[in-house]
Symmetry: D2
Subunit: 164 residues, 4 copies
């Protein structure tokens, strides 16, 4: 079994620029994280973009959808900024069929000691292997269907739009 990870940036991969004192993107930490996780399924990492998800445009989301369709794997993880995960999930649900796609990210950059990113990657990797085809967001130790998820900007937690 082979799993594809598409990197798009987000808090996950932000670094501290010691010259400017700002957070910025350099390279993704996914290969380092995969190595540290000692996973045995074959995982292939491809960086599509390195951007803040508030800066993600329709053309970016089209690119992600196209890549999901053209990659041979049917189990796909997308690392993504948390602010617009639900938007991207919705776009992918309309354009990609028959694949299990799990979008995840982090509230704290991986390079910060207290990051949730490594845990979230573990969740995403497990969900992508066990959930039926569809598009999901994996955050806060849960998965959400693409059409029933939002980020609560006050608490920083993901939640269902309609609690059933």
């Amino acid at each position: 079994m082979s799993i594809r990870i598409f990197v798009t940036g987000g808090t996950f991969d932000k670094e501290y620029n010691e010259i400017t004192g700002q957070l910025y993107f350099k390279e993704t930490h996914l290969p380092e994280m995969i190595n540290r996780s000692r996973v045995s399924p074959q995982v292939v990492v491809t960086t599509l973009m390195m951007i803040d998800s508030l800066d993600m445009k329709n053309t970016d989301r089209d690119l992600i959808a196209n890549m999901c369709n053209s990659t041979p794997e049917d189990k796909i993880i997308i690392t993504h900024g948390t602010d617009t995960m639900a938007v991207t999930a919705s776009v992918l649900a309309g354009k990609v069929q028959g694949k299990t796609i799990v979008i995840t990210g982090a509230m704290i950059p991986y390079k910060f000691g207290s990051s949730d990113g490594f845990f979230n990657l573990g969740c995403a990797l497990a969900f992508v292997q066990t959930l039926p085809p569809g598009v999901y967001v994996a955050m806060n130790g849960r998965y959400f269907n693409w059409d029933n998820v939002r980020k609560n900007r006050q608490t920083g937690q993901f939640e269902e739009v309609d609690i059933k």
Copy 2:
């Protein structure tokens, strides 16, 4: 939904004793890890023992089985030393019915910078929510059925006994 975590020790929770220079058990790091993970499902942590899994006895495994049966949750994670995970999985499969039990651990103590433990906990938490009732080992980013798993002592990787 509520998830129970039973702590039994293992590499996961080992600390460095600066007086003796040996690794030892003090307190579990699970509550700290749960807090850092920002999980929204309710997770309840109970420490059953803090031992190396090579020192785990039949009576210890009976205790774990009894606790799995008596706890109200039907989704249970057990943190455990890696060396005898498969033995405990087998005992639990014979004694506990109708619950999803996921045994996990770490190759490197959580307090070491390079630990796989936080990732493994993420995997276990996702698997316990998505797998049908049964007993599983979650390591190396995968899950294994209780009756088809062993630790390869040379590579440190978990693998199936019979590759189907």
Copy 3:
């Protein structure tokens, strides 16, 4: 022997705010760092302010000078943002006599895995015990006299103004 540490903020103590995605100040990490360092000299930590050194005003520097004069210790460490360390050093040199004052900071926040802060604190603690009275900046593993130091904004390194 007793050493006073005055905390003023700076990169050293910046945290990641997971709701806004910005760096900010919460509480100083100095007590945690002192604990971890296992120092035996008595070290007393006082937080004077928690600000970016680019926001430091004359009244802030007057406050620091007054505190250096009124505290009973004659060995003083000041944690400080790197951008205006040299300005503060100059103000203190004009207002405080007969004490050894070492200003230090960090290029990367302590809470980032790759921070230089803990090392710099070690340098500052050693320099404050061994240098004669005067005002110094301790960065990049060196000490600089207050009247011959600047931060090179291109390289992020501290250097002498006049190389003797």
Copy 4:
């Protein structure tokens, strides 16, 4: 100014062997630490041995002394296990003249999140630049003269033999 660091092993450089579950020596972390510290003085690292200081023999100490004498630098840091630092300091004091030698180490391996090693290296680097020729132990944020230091095995703290 150039500073020589001789690596001899000790807790400082211990790693966790995930196959055996034991602590062991692989490679020194000193180059990584030097890089992270952003030091501007030229620092040259040479690994002499990678051993537990309880296993250090007279011939090992003779080798260290010979290397201190033959290296061109007159400012030397030695990383060393904590248990026999005082013994090595005494040997060096008898064999090396006219150089400032600072022996340091760690109570917790550098690769453990809570290590004191990076701080101690900062202290040692500052002390070696400011102390007169002689042999010193730098631990717990202090320096000790070679003939008045011991490790308290109960507390793990270094202390003077004779309190003046």
